[in-house]
Subunit: 574 residues, 2 copies
């Protein structure tokens, strides 16, 4: 492709909206553009990357025995009502009506639809296992779209669904998809971790997330360096030492704490450790007020709370002041477990039951209570674990300390079991002559998000550094002075020769200053670079790699050898 | 692919909903499935066809210098308000709101969005011409979805947009796309005609449609065998001889015609030719009643009427009885041009002005009037041509008779001019230093519809007959008896050898009766067939083509020669 013709509107300025490197660079390099919040277009260079990612995904899915098809994005309400997700998905689902007022959604995922598809067509255990996938545009009306295509409202996803006759079959399908995903992300040269995930809106029992490591990632994971334990912070089981557990119970004592409401103020006032406080949080859960008590030095994990309450996350919200006053009789900051208004649902993280002589809100404005003890002074529902994991917590598997890292969720796999097949009555006839529901799994790869994750891992201050496997073009030939006939002709000649070798080549034949061309080439991140300059008359060019500092002068007949070496280094063939 | 694993749910029964061969066969062959009216999924075999069609389109678009990208399907209302199409598109546009109540549509087409995309990025005439395309899912909430993917509500389309600095450039871009389309449809082996089209909702001046010839097509075209004139019936200019034009004007005469309202009853009552009547039609145009008068032996062309009225088609509807009584003072069937209620807009097809001694409705229940003449007895707005073309009309170009045929619109090309660039203020700086609006064209190929059009042209009573260029698999190997080890092994061996040659091969290794396998193979239409039967022990197989009657016995070492011949015959390489 001649760059004089290429639609590649690079930007010198960093767009104000962009917060993280991938977002900035994909915009600046003319790879994508925003239409409205969370809605993007892929321009020619960016779309080439997307298609290459899709092809890696496609090849590994095919190899794993999954069959590609394409479902509609539009799905009727009835399908989602059958599974109970029409309501559960909440405002994250785009909904619309057709001209006859029939209600539809734009598919945020396709569990219901795939189940419905095979429902009347797969009748016997002999036709199982079956694994189907599609690469398709998905829609989620995110509350806070951000980070470009990482949290977008319209995005490209590969989603796959497996159908087995029993749990054992599902486990095998799950393992096969896990392995396919490892191949996919390894081929895409992503540094990633596989971590236990929360099943969230998908339902089912077990799930894992493939997290591309990135400091800018929205996903937080806890992992152990001693064993293979790794989980998202939504999922990670929290284990830590309770310091006060062996103290003796003292007498309760009401303390006047005028205007002292934040944990920092309280720590100073009581000259006590955060870990001696009981933090009360007031929420509305599906509209009903609840009070949650957790240790003062820990954060609440809302995902765990929603799982405990069995409600979708969009039905949990912080209570307003009015509700707080109603349940506690006091202003915000003075809620505690003792003396709540009768009938108020109190949920207690299990750690609280082991902590002695807690300091808690007094349910009276400007008062706290010291030396409060579970059992003696209050009771309530005990939730095993409602806490967010922290660095230094104890690995629930081996007991060593956990580390915390951030990542971008590029893939996920779910063991769904029979949740969807049961609710949609999708059954097959098993060997024993009985009708049974399919045992299902579902498997996603965020295609457009993967593009951004690659950029997060492969960039520097000047621009993107594409791995060869997904680069929009393999080679860029920069002709320093296009008005110099010798340089121009040599550039054209190399362009033709390399193209004939099956390489994807950009020829920078633009009538621009060398500096502009060098900046653009750094920005768009083409891995292999050939510079045609003053030594063109000697058939000598400069050869360099985007990922390395150095550059060498080589005769043109050595170009292919050098290119081959680069391909080999990344495990690819030309 | 082993058919024992393939998800290919063929149907023995013809689905009740399917009216035409492509719809029936694509469903029966397990290539696609309906979710709801006008919304389909492509199953593995069908999606392979779709991807092959996409690739032919992609190759020819790339070759023509167009650059691929991908825009979002979601588009904000504001873009469409700027062009005036938010209202004009009417109920055919799917509309939705996001969680913040912002209004969007699902793109039925992308003129506005492409114009907006390049608006601030292409600044100089030096960057022109530019041609961009995408292959994308489009949405139109059709009033009457039908014929499977031919008139669907969610469908796959390739849409391209050209940007030029002047009309001359646009004409050239238009011509280039025309040629690319000829290559596309020729490669896809479609018999097609290029016809003048009506620009309809796109606006602009000139357009052509690529019509795949099919008796079942919704599109009607008029064409001349003597010259190259061809046009859709919406567009075709109507020219014919008026028989009564030289008659002398007689005196008007009111005739009692009790309950005689249809044209057939009138012909019998008056013992007169249909061509002597003036047919009055009452419509509501954007809510206002109008009366249209056309010759009694012709049909009204509603597209021409809307173009004349400058309203979108969804704003034209037949008037109800109440409106008819209001404008004519008489029941339905007695409306005429003489004595309409004052102020009623009367639109007269120009042919009416040349016809003498018309018989028309009397605007009085149970009365008609004879010998009515334009000018003497009534006046109104003259519209040059509001008629539907008919076989035998005179070619407007050469004067020979026109023929009528039916087709499926698989492609269209539009000269948009500056309609969108002006309304969206998309300008560039021209050589003379002046800001000018881009001169645009837009170009569509219905990808999913093309699949159906191919089936319309390539099928017989037993199933589909895919051309090699788009077939889901090139070769099918049928093992007659999979329990016979010799047959099974030979089938496997040929399967492996042909796959290694780069062919796409289906191996029918299912434990089914030969009859079932033969029926399925006819139905799914794989072009090249190898049957492994009793002579397997002699390394002899049966070779046959789906499109031909005969079959031959050949030794296995001659299989590739025969396959190569088939590829050559369709102009392809293996």
């Amino acid at each position: 492709m001649r760059m004089s013709k290429l639609y590649m509107p690079t930007l010198r300025e960093v767009p104000a909206e962009a917060e993280i490197p991938s977002h900035k660079l994909l915009l600046r390099a003319g790879m994508m553009r925003k239409l409205v919040s969370g809605v993007y277009s892929y321009l020619p260079l960016g779309y080439r990357v997307i298609k290459k990612i899709e092809n890696v995904v496609r090849e590994e899915m095919d190899r794993a025995g999954s069959q590609e098809l394409l479902m509609s994005a539009i799905q009727p309400k009835e399908l989602w009502e059958a599974s109970g997700r029409w309501d559960n998905f909440g405002p994250e689902m785009f909904r619309l009506k057709d001209r006859n007022d029939r209600e539809f959604c734009l598919g945020p995922t396709h569990e219901e639809y795939f189940t419905d598809l095979i429902k009347n067509e797969i009748k016997s255990y002999k036709q199982l296992p079956l694994n189907l996938y599609q690469i398709q545009t998905k829609y989620r009306d995110e509350k806070r779209p951000r980070f470009g295509v990482i949290r977008a409202r319209e995005f490209i996803m590969k989603d796959a669904y497996s159908f087995d006759k029993d749990e054992e079959g599902m486990e095998k399908s799950y393992r096969e998809m896990w392995e396919a995903y490892e191949k996919i992300f390894t081929r895409l040269r992503l540094k990633y971790k596989v971590v236990e995930g929360d099943s969230g809106a998908m339902g089912g029992n077990k799930s894992h997330e493939f997290m591309a490591m990135a400091e800018t990632g929205e996903g937080v994971i806890a992992y152990c360096n001693n064993c293979d334990y790794a989980a998202t912070n939504e999922k990670a089981k929290v284990v830590y030492e309770i310091k006060t557990k062996d103290e003796e119970e003292k007498d309760m004592e009401k303390v006047h704490t005028p205007d002292i409401t934040t944990i920092d103020q309280l720590v100073e006032f009581f000259r006590s450790d955060k870990g001696n406080f009981g933090k009360a949080l007031v929420y509305l859960a599906s509209g009903e007020p609840i009070v949650v008590i957790i240790p003062g030095d820990r954060e609440l994990n809302e995902t765990k709370l929603c799982n405990y309450l069995k409600i979708p996350e969009h039905e949990l919200e912080m209570a307003d002041e009015e509700t707080i006053i109603k349940v506690s009789g006091a202003k915000k900051g003075f809620t505690g477990p003792v003396g709540l208004r009768e009938g108020t649902r109190l949920i207690i993280d299990s750690r609280i039951t082991k902590m002695k002589n807690l300091i808690v809100g007094g349910n009276e404005t400007d008062y706290h209570i010291k030396n409060v003890n579970y059992g003696r002074d209050f009771e309530g529902e005990i939730a095993e674990d409602l806490l967010l994991v922290e660095e230094g917590d104890i690995c629930p598997k081996c007991g060593e300390p956990l580390y915390i890292a951030r990542g971008i969720e590029v893939g996920n796999i779910f063991q769904l079991g029979t949740k969807y097949s049961t609710s949609l009555q999708a059954t097959f006839l098993d060997e024993d002559g009985k009708e049974k529901p399919f045992v299902m799994g579902s498997y996603g790869v965020g295609v457009s998000r993967t593009m951004a994750a690659i950029v997060e891992q492969y960039h520097d201050e000047y621009g993107i550094i594409w791995p060869l496997v997904v680069t929009p073009y393999h080679v860029i030939i920069t002709v320093i002075n296009v008005k110099d006939e010798v340089q121009r002709d040599l550039g054209e000649k190399i362009y033709e020769e390399l193209s004939n070798e099956g390489l994807e080549v950009l020829l920078d034949d633009r009538n621009e200053r060398a500096g502009v061309k060098f900046n653009d080439r750094d920005l768009i991140g083409i891995p292999i670079r050939i510079t045609v300059g003053k030594k063109a008359n000697e058939n000598i060019v400069e050869f360099s790699l985007r990922k390395e500092e150095g550059r060498i002068e080589i005769p043109t007949d050595k170009i292919m050898d050098n290119i081959r070496k680069s391909f080999e280094e990344e495990g690819l063939e030309i």
